[in-house]
């Protein structure tokens, strides 16, 4: 028996409550301590439930490129959860990256688990059935860590369902040494205070490296015999300065309900917890072999993150603020990832992901060379998140060389030029009209324009300008295309102020204000019937935004609301058919009133410069004074440039985090395939004779 094996054996007893050790291992030798034997697969029992639920394929696992590691061969076991339905969770890049990074380690394994739909949840409760991983159908309670990735706060109730189904205490304070450590990550984890009661820890920023640090610490703690139990491990994690353990911080409140202070309550815990930043993306080419599900999911393509971070400085955009600085993947790194990924998956589409993909310093070369390389393979390219300018039309044309030109999306975000200065989205109306006219002239039939409603300083007039912009778009489009068969869709989302942005102090607009402005906008669009009939308008009502606002900028007192909503059946809050505004507002009122605050306190209230914000002790690198100055600049309609092309404006991130901008151009190109990927593209199916000359096949 190796030393490693002995260490694993030492933490015996942990899984005894889940299953008895296998007969072979109950003899008197040291091996007998190995009740770390794999928990029995739950699949045989699950199989009997599956014929009774919708889309059973989502629960069976067995995806192409799924990993399956031997339970007993490792010492640290992660269950990774994306807290939404499988069809949304499976394609999530963050989860897939960590799944690969962890499984590549000799001493760790990772399996995936997703939110089960209410039909299966009911059957699981009836049958006393645990939350399970889809990889090997192991009970989540048997893992060392439950890592939950929150792209949005609306997944909080689904995490509670998973913890409850897994059979360990909902509240972190009630858990024992043998229960999994619940770790939250993802963008929402930059303010984990509303879920502080339920998570043991939260991690800010890029996860690739910190999951390794956490794994090392858990492995050593287990090997040493779990000294000081659960708190012992959490203290080790907190002492790194990069893992936030809410229970080690006390929060005091002022008589008016605002926060007095957040302070560490024991030695060795830092006053502020830092975010993590991975430098040099080329060293992290994950996911290398993306999962290919049998079930239908929301994105089915080979996605390559072409850069991380964004310094455009849109003041509403939390993603842009918390992921700084910009770090580009090189054109060669992108080429290798695309090639290896396509070979591993068989996907027909390549997605070049980032927060603003057209901003990559070599985006023109990347798209042209990828389009050339894969033209014959019928692989298409997509480029989400593009800017409003003519350069992007050229890009879009390149991407659709042989494809139908159906729709292009642009995001001016604000209706008036004044409002666009407030939010720092520098697009003039003339540029926008010129850009969309070019698009229609190049054969695009539909342009979608994305806006937000409820932005700081917004008036009815700002929103009504969307109507005149849409009218001008249709006029210009009809002229440029010479056709009436073109459309423009105006899509509008409610603005939610987010932590770590200049708008973190702003008052959120009430749903009544947002809904009223959108009613007026609809009337204004339809006031000209000949133009209005070419314009579609899509929006969500303002109510879910208010709840998102509560969860985004809430503090620990909001945990009681989340729990009450969940206990009353709240699930899948990101799905309109499951979301109940009535329930959220009623239970928010009931849970918050005894604490002297209310829903309005957390949402439609503007904050002062000196207020202690619930996330001030969580360090995104952004200097609070800089954020406040940028908020004041917003109010005086003063724009801020991008630090990639103008001097540093001291947002604080690079100096606080020891990071730097990493951008090209490299001046290189995608390498020829033979050099880039060796034998990868040798045909697998041998042809018995060479393909006949093209003329034989020609349709004439």
């Amino acid at each position: 028996m190796t030393a490693e094996r002995l260490r694993t054996a030492y933490v015996a007893g942990r899984y005894g409550r889940l299953r008895r050790p296998r007969g072979l291992r109950t003899t008197g030798s040291a091996v007998a301590l190995g009740s770390v034997t794999a928990p029995e697969s739950l699949f045989p029992k699950l199989e009997a439930l599956l014929p009774k639920v919708s889309k059973p394929i989502q629960y069976v696992g067995g995806e192409l490129n799924a990993r399956s590691k031997d339970w007993e061969s490792v010492s640290v076991r992660w269950a990774l959860m994306y807290p939404d339905a499988y069809e949304v969770g499976l394609p999530n890049q963050g989860t897939q990256i960590l799944y690969e990074v962890l499984n590549e380690r000799e001493d760790a394994l990772a399996e995936r688990t997703y939110a089960v739909w209410p039909d299966l949840e009911a059957l699981m409760r009836e049958n006393g059935f645990s939350q399970f991983t889809v990889d090997n159908h192991r009970p989540v309670g048997a893992f060392d860590v439950l890592g939950v990735s929150f792209s949005t706060e609306l997944g909080y109730t689904n995490m509670l369902t998973a913890i409850d189904l897994a059979g360990f205490p909902l509240h972190a304070a009630d858990r024992g040494a043998d229960d999994p450590i619940v770790v939250a990550g993802g963008h929402a984890a930059f303010n984990p205070e509303p879920i502080a009661d339920f998570v043991d820890a939260a991690v800010l920023g890029d996860g690739e490296q910190v999951v390794g640090t956490i794994t090392d610490l858990i492995r050593d703690w287990k090997a040493e015999g779990q000294p000081d139990g659960r708190d012992g491990l959490l203290l080790r994690l907190a002492a790194t300065g990069g893992v936030y353990v809410p229970r080690f911080y006390d929060v005091t409140y002022l008589p008016d309900g605002r926060i007095g202070a957040v302070t560490p309550n024991r030695a060795g815990v830092p006053a502020r917890v830092q975010k993590h930043t991975v430098m040099n993306l080329d060293e992290w080419p994950y996911p290398k072999t993306p999962l290919v599900p049998l079930a239908e999911t929301v994105h089915e393509r080979m996605s390559v993150e072409i850069f991380r971070g964004c310094t455009r400085g849109c003041r509403f955009c939390q993603a842009g603020m918390i992921t700084r600085p910009v770090r580009e993947r090189s054109i060669q790194g992108i080429g290798e990832m695309v090639e290896a990924g396509l070979n591993a998956t068989g996907f027909e589409e390549i997605g070049l992901l980032s927060l603003s993909s057209a901003d990559h310093s070599e985006i023109a070369q990347i798209t042209k060379q990828l389009a050339d390389r894969y033209e014959a393979d019928r692989v298409s390219l997509s480029l989400p998140s593009t800017r409003v300018d003519a350069f992007n039309i050229d890009l879009a044309n390149e991407l659709s060389r042989n494809g139908r030109r159906s729709g292009l999306t642009f995001a001016p975000e604000g209706g008036s030029e004044r409002l666009r200065r407030v939010i720092n989205k520098m697009v003039s109306k003339d540029d926008l009209i010129r850009t969309v006219a070019t698009a229609y002239g190049n054969g695009w039939r539909q342009v979608k324009l994305y806006f937000m409603c409820g932005l700081p300083t917004e008036t009815d007039e700002d929103v009504l300008e969307i109507a005149s912009m849409a009218h001008d778009v249709i006029r210009a489009g009809r002229q440029a295309s010479g056709s009436k068969d073109i459309r423009c869709t105006v899509s509008i989302g409610g603005f939610v102020p987010k932590p770590h942005t200049p708008f973190q102090w702003a008052a959120q607009a009430s749903p009544e204000v947002v809904d009223e402005r959108l009613r007026k906008l609809r009337a204004a669009i339809n006031a000209d019937r000949s133009l209005g009939r070419s314009i579609g308008m899509r929006y969500h009502d303002g109510e879910p935004s208010l709840v998102e606002g509560l969860l985004s900028r809430g503090d620990r007192r909001v945990g009681a609301v989340i729990e009450a909503v969940w206990r009353e059946g709240g699930r899948f809050d990101g799905w309109s058919e499951h979301f109940s505004f009535e329930r959220w507002t009623r239970l928010a009122a009931a849970s918050l009133e005894p604490l002297g605050v209310d829903l309005a306190f957390f949402t439609i209230r503007e904050r002062d410069a000196d207020e202690v914000l619930p996330w001030d002790h969580l360090d995104s690198g952004l200097d609070k004074q800089w954020l406040w100055d940028d908020w004041q600049d917003a109010l005086s309609e003063f724009e801020q440039d991008d630090c990639r092309w103008t001097p540093c404006f001291d947002c604080g991130v690079c100096s606080n985090m020891g990071t730097d901008i990493q951008i090209g151009p490299t001046g290189r190109s995608l390498l020829p395939l033979a050099l880039a990927s060796g034998q990868l593209r040798a045909p697998v199916v041998a042809q018995t004779r060479p393909p006949a000359p093209a003329s034989d096949h020609s349709h004439g």
Binding site: G62, V292, F347, A686
Partner: protein, 240 residues
């Protein structure tokens, strides 16, 4: 403005067709037909099979799916036909595709046919042979229910579909039905709408009072031309 047409030469024509038999085993029996189709098209790409495509802005690979087993039902006899733009060695193709598909969806036979004049494979599918495991069922009760069912000239059952309840005759298309312990062996003609094993189980419950203590598991063992009460190999005619 002129109508855009795809650049480049039109797609290559079909010069060879290959008929494949595949399985849906174990947990992958929960794969729906749509799920299979997506997985199969990706497997064709990974295995770099030289597919022929339809013309237009959205070229589709030439694939004909033939009568898929219902979601949740296992099968040893599913069929699909693909059109290729050049000749390939079919056993190499079979192995490559089998490897590119998840375990449980196994490609077990491949037969090449001429691009023209091979006849329709779908039309050869006259009947299916099913085996239904009924764990926990009393074998005598099963025998009794089966007897009661088989003497009926017809027996309507209701099936819940997306569009509501639908009634169909579960007895007419049943060519042969035999119990063997807790296993039910069936040969059922393929009709429109098709009678599935669960329709027969519903009938056995309503005509003979049979109850199922555990979830039944059905498998298709064969489908093809019907000869009396036997199902023949549908690819026999192509093997030459």
């Amino acid at each position: 403005m002129a109508k855009r047409v795809p650049e480049g030469p039109p797609p290559a024509q079909v010069v060879q067709k290959v008929r494949l038999r595949y399985t849906k085993r174990g947990r992958l029996r929960f794969t729906s037909h749509r799920d299979f189709a997506r997985a199969f098209e990706r497997a064709l790409r990974r295995a770099q099979v030289p597919m022929a495509y339809s013309a237009g802005f959205h070229p589709h690979p030439k694939i004909s799916y033939i009568g898929a087993a219902p979601t949740g039902v296992a099968s040893e006899a599913e069929f699909v036909e693909i059109g290729l733009q050049c000749q390939v060695e079919v056993e190499t193709l079979r192995k490559a595709l089998d490897q590119a598909l998840p375990d449980g969806i196994d490609v077990i036979e491949a037969v090449a046919v001429a691009a023209e004049g091979a006849g329709s494979l779908a039309e050869r599918m006259q009947a299916s042979q099913w085996r239904v495991e009924l764990p926990g069922v009393d074998p005598h009760e099963l025998e009794k229910a089966l007897e009661a069912f088989l003497i009926q000239p017809e027996w309507p059952v209701e099936r819940l579909t997306k569009d509501g309840k639908r009634t169909l005759d579960a007895r007419g298309p049943v060519v042969r039905a035999e119990a063997e312990g807790t296993t039910l062996n069936l040969i059922v003609r393929i009709t429109v709408p098709t009678v599935r094993p669960d329709d027969v189980l519903t009938a056995l419950a309503s005509v003979g009072g049979l109850t199922y203590p555990a979830v039944p598991v059905a498998s298709r063992l064969a489908q093809g031309p019907l000869d009396g009460t036997s199902v023949l190999d549908p690819l026999a005619a192509d093997r030459g």
